[in-house]
């Protein structure tokens, strides 16, 4: 079984992010790290391969400046190898452009299953995975909380507000994995040293056979027109307990669909 995981490398969310005032894009000049949203996909893929008693987990990522730090983390967790697409012409890519690039990289690997996060932590359009499936013309299942491979069938528990749906489709397929459904392993120190020697194939657009006009700024059909400060968080509501505070809290949580 061959599983490919899409992993996005993002600016460290622990550090204050900065927008480039001329383009309104997030600055991505510093080191990028593995998006936590994708650590669940990596873990899920490793568990699937371990459960199947064999197979291989490969990674694909598109990132500026030949960044590999986040890929190294996922390789240290146990993935075998990676493809990184990096090209100056990719600056300003929108979600569809990104999906075209990732789809081209994925198709070189002919996987049985492609995993991605439901949404990234920095861009969070939550659209790239399904667009990849569209470009590759394979079925896609979203919001997976559990995945099982049975021959050529992918069986997924798809998380819903009420619980989950059982959904299945044929391989090859793309599945997006809900954050938090598995506990991503810590990369072991041995894994870190082994990752140093694992192959990361670095490709540019021409190597992928993609035309500059379909990706990057020139291919983008999306433009960030204006950026405004988020509204300051409002002070919370104080509930005085007159014997019914618990009911009010339950009601409040109910409105939020937490209980």
């Amino acid at each position: 079984m061959k599983v490919v995981v899409c992993v996005k490398q993002i600016p460290d969310p622990a550090l204050p992010g900065e927008l480039d005032p001329s383009t309104n894009y997030l600055k991505r000049d510093d080191k990028l790290i593995l998006d936590e949203s994708d650590s669940y996909g990596v873990e899920m893929a490793l568990q699937l391969v371990e459960g199947a008693g064999g197979g291989e987990v490969s990674l694909v990522s598109m990132a500026p400046n030949n960044e590999v730090s986040g890929l190294r983390t996922a390789l240290a967790m146990g993935a075998e190898d990676a493809i990184l697409v990096s090209d100056n012409a990719l600056a300003g890519s929108d979600a569809l452009g990104t999906a075209r690039v990732l789809a081209a990289a994925i198709s070189r690997l002919s996987p049985d299953l492609v995993l991605a996060g439901v949404e990234s932590s920095d861009g969070y359009t939550g659209t790239v995975p399904e667009m990849i499936a569209g470009v590759l013309d394979i079925p896609s299942i979203t919001f997976a909380k559990q995945i099982e491979i049975d021959g050529n069938t992918v069986k997924v528990q798809r998380q819903t507000e009420a619980g989950y749906d059982d959904v299945e489709c044929q391989t090859p397929a793309l599945v997006s994995v809900t954050a938090g459904v598995v506990e991503p392993r810590y990369p072991s120190f041995k894994g870190i040293m082994a990752a140093k020697k694992k192959p990361v194939e670095e490709l540019d657009l021409s190597a992928l056979g993609l035309d500059e006009s379909s990706v990057g700024q020139s291919g983008a059909r999306q433009e960030t027109v204006r950026v405004t400060e988020a509204e300051e968080r409002q002070a919370g509501e104080v509930i005085e307990d007159e014997g019914d505070a618990h009911e009010k809290i339950v009601e409040f949580l109910g409105e939020l669909k937490i209980v």
Partner: protein
């Protein structure tokens, strides 16, 4: 020292592990007087035990710089657990890897590296610590066994360890007695824990007095040659000093971080206290001291990794870092004002935890003895 990408990754993983798996539990483990063994098994999975041990025995095969960096991260969150990690890695695992027979390595190392067995190191006795050569625990050969009798004190993990590395006198008790080292399981009827101490800091581990009451151990549990034990025991201490310096830096840097955060939010006279120059300067001094000590331990560790003599550098790093940690922790409490004296704030715990770094693995005074004896060999 500029770290390699792998050193940085190791540091990041150790930091993430410490903050998710250790930090949320330290107060509970302090109250209980120990952490569950499952913690050490989880640490082992990452590679925090047996870090420098050959992968063929289940270790991570890393250099000492990696080990010291990881030690700083664990100690930043809890001193007592970092000390358990230290005892296990060095002297116990490294001692066996360096001096053990193939059989001993096969028997002990994989289990130590997996966290299945924890180790303890038995040198100090109630009447002697700094003067290691005056220990009186005796091991007398009897056929293909040794019979151990004696009383050890201040033994980290004395009651929770599965194997003990014991330093005992095997020859006649003379001016320079013949000392040997044994590595042997603690589930021996002659191994008796007679007291678990109550202590100022490091409350997440057990510190014990242990009596060997006609404890019979097979002769195959002798580590290295009979009579060569003092150099085995003290060789381990020199590496342990680098680890202790890293522990001290860990505690101090956490105190600094907490102080910086607190000073940015606590307001007096209409501004955050970090806006008062005296507080900002205190933080600047703390940061500089932490940085200096970190460079010292990294330098000592990299000397060791390069196969050079690291003993003096290790003693200097340990002396400076351990005394620095007390100063920095004290300043951290000062920056916190009254809050720093309360258990609600971690600086209170750090202040208690860092004090011992000036005592174990050789007191500050012992480090000064080592350094002063080597003054001639320093490039001054």
């Amino acid at each position: 020292m500029i770290l390699s990408p792998e050193h940085n990754q190791i540091r990041e993983v150790a930091r993430a592990f410490a903050s998710s798996e250790i930090a949320p539990n330290v107060r509970e483990w302090e109250a209980q007087g120990g952490a569950p063994k499952a913690l050490y098994q989880a640490m082992a999975k990452v590679g925090l035990l047996g870090m420098t041990i050959d992968p063929k025995y289940g270790g991570s095969g890393l250099d000492f710089v990696s080990y010291a960096l990881a030690m700083e991260e664990i100690a930043a969150v809890d001193g007592g657990i970092s000390n358990m990690m230290s005892a296990n890695n060095s002297p116990v695992a490294i001692g066996i890897a360096t001096h053990g027979t193939d059989k001993q390595k096969d028997r002990f190392l994989p289990r130590l590296c997996a966290g299945e067995w924890l180790g303890s190191f038995h040198l100090t006795e109630p009447h002697t610590g700094s003067d290691a050569s005056s220990i009186t625990t005796r091991a007398v050969k009897d056929g293909n066994e040794y019979v151990l009798n004696g009383h050890k004190a201040f033994i980290t993990a004395g009651s929770t360890s599965d194997i003990a590395m014991i330093v005992a006198v095997t020859g006649p008790q003379a001016d320079s007695p013949e000392i040997s080292v044994f590595v042997t399981p603690t589930d021996n009827p002659g191994y008796q824990v007679i007291n678990t101490e109550r202590k100022l800091g490091h409350r997440t581990n057990d510190l014990c007095q242990v009596r060997f009451d006609s404890m019979r151990v097979p002769a195959t549990d002798l580590l290295g040659d009979e009579g060569r034990g003092l150099s085995i025991a003290l060789g381990g201490l020199s590496l342990g000093r680098i680890a202790t310096a890293a522990q001290a830096v860990g505690g101090a840097r956490q105190a600094l971080q907490l102080s910086k955060d607190y000073a940015s939010q606590r307001e007096t006279f209409g501004k955050p206290i970090i806006g008062h120059q005296s507080v900002a300067f205190t933080l600047a001094e703390m940061a500089t001291e932490v940085e200096a000590a970190r460079h010292m331990y990294l330098h000592a560790a990299s000397l060791h990794d390069a196969g050079k003599d690291s003993a003096t550098a290790a003693s200097m790093a340990k002396l400076f870092a351990s005394e620095m940690a007390e100063r920095v922790a004290s300043k951290a409490i000062q920056v916190h004002g009254g809050a720093g004296f309360l258990e609600d704030h971690l600086v209170e715990k750090i202040y208690r935890d860092v004090r011992v770094y000036q005592i174990y693995e050789g007191t500050s005074e012992v480090q000064k003895i080592v350094i002063s004896r080597n003054l001639d060999s320093l490039e001054l």
